[in-house]
Point group: C2
Chain length 268, copies 2
């Protein structure tokens, strides 16, 4: 991803990685767009206001409208006299309460938040209780009918490994290949919350939400967990469960294989 470096005497542009978290409810996702406010735009505006430099950010993923990030990494060439350890405080003064920068790190010039990322973990949260919870509105998928977490766990293991995931994605931006490797896919019941965790080398558009919707269908008996291998092999989106709502999805971990970008150390 090319970065436009404006020329100027004595200006030193260093590649920075910013580690942040955000509540996605109020935004049209990460990526800048014409109609609607995005996290990328808010952060670029904050950088411009604090560092007096216009810089296009590269983000670790294109989270959709309403999707949250407990951790997110964005990178850009930034010229600023503010030291890395003070940069988050400075940026937060120019950001709304639902976005918080927690670390800034100077990285090699060829680092890119998107392309240097080795793996990502998303967590999908389902509130499986008879009544909605005011504290989880827009923060979990409220599913009142009792789900069989055991059936969901049984289904989950079939997604693990290297597969063509065409059956569980939405058609968005064209990608070179629908093949991805899922390192783990777990289903855990914590009280009224069912938590699905998916870690992969990368995800297709809406893949975690389509897998979560498919697991919900396994949990309520609409899909037989043992039919997952067949559904995956069919490459037919019609065979999988529905795409679960955005509000339940969180980006929860990232790995760059670099010591100084240990994103998990900034997680709450």
């Amino acid at each position: 991803m090319p970065c436009l470096l404006p020329f100027g005497k004595g200006r030193e542009f260093l590649k920075k990685a910013l580690i942040l978290s955000y509540l996605g409810t109020a935004y049209h996702g990460w990526q800048r767009q014409k109609n609607g406010m995005t996290i990328q735009q808010k952060l670029e505006e904050a950088i411009e206001s604090v560092c007096k430099v216009k810089t296009p950010l590269s983000g670790c993923g294109r989270t959709d409208a309403g999707v949250h990030a407990e951790v997110y990494v964005a990178s850009a060439f930034i010229d600023t006299g503010i030291p890395d350890e003070k940069l988050p405080y400075a940026l937060n003064t120019a950001l709304p309460d639902d976005i918080s920068v927690k670390r800034a790190v100077t990285v090699p010039d060829d680092f890119d938040a998107r392309f240097s990322c080795k793996s990502k973990e998303y967590t999908y949260r389902i509130l499986n209780a008879p009544f909605r919870d005011p504290f989880l509105s827009d923060r979990a998928y409220f599913y009142p009918k009792k789900l069989d977490a055991g059936a969901m766990q049984k289904a989950a293991r079939f997604f693990v490994g290297k597969h063509d995931f065409s059956a569980v994605r939405s058609l968005g931006t064209p990608v070179r290949s629908p093949v991805r490797t899922i390192y783990y896919l777990t289903v855990e019941k914590k009280g009224d919350i069912i938590e699905i965790k998916a870690c992969a080398d990368g995800f297709l558009y809406n893949m975690v939400r389509a897998i979560s919707g498919t697991l919900v269908f396994c949990g309520c008996g609409k899909i037989d967990p043992l039919s997952i291998p067949e559904i995956l092999a069919s490459r037919d989106r019609e065979r999988g469960g529905p795409t679960a709502p955005a509000c339940g999805l969180y980006l929860t971990a990232l790995s760059y294989g670099m010591e100084n970008i240990d994103v998990n150390s900034v997680k709450k």
Copy 2:
């Protein structure tokens, strides 16, 4: 508290207790008022819309603007053909997402959510971390300077018991006596969150927030924990710490000493 019972043939008004929870951010507290929407008004409007009856609710406490309730009990005479087990679902269809009724119970006519309450527990949550957390905005008091939870615990024990709490309340509606009994007051550190739990037979206006503010001052060295007995004895509000912000306060437990109003069973 008198309940106006309209006359009508074949109408049977039964006293009901409603157990609910709400996120207080959008409201001007529990109690109905002229300027601003309140939870009481929303709930009375929902009852009117669903049960076709206007009824004044009695609430277990007057939570302030921005204060939350994991559990709350309201009571009223309600005439409805809807059975108790279905009433919460019906009322929730007429309520916004930030208010959720979780149980309805028919109680004796002399039950009153406020006056029958034996004890209440409030929890005050402080985010004690260098950076704000987008997921706790309006849900915890963000205090970035490191607090000494040990000093707070040391101070907390002096509040327990029967005391005149004039030094830790705001002057609001006049009350007969400033004496209350605190059954327990605990301070617990859970990661970046410091949680203060206070249980008493009743609380004076802003009492939990003033105690929390005083404990924060003990945690940052501005008040010596050992001076709490003297501060309480002074009955002087100026001697205590500040009133901590409303957003950190949650009503978390209620006791009525009645088997069928086991409010804690509906907690998340």
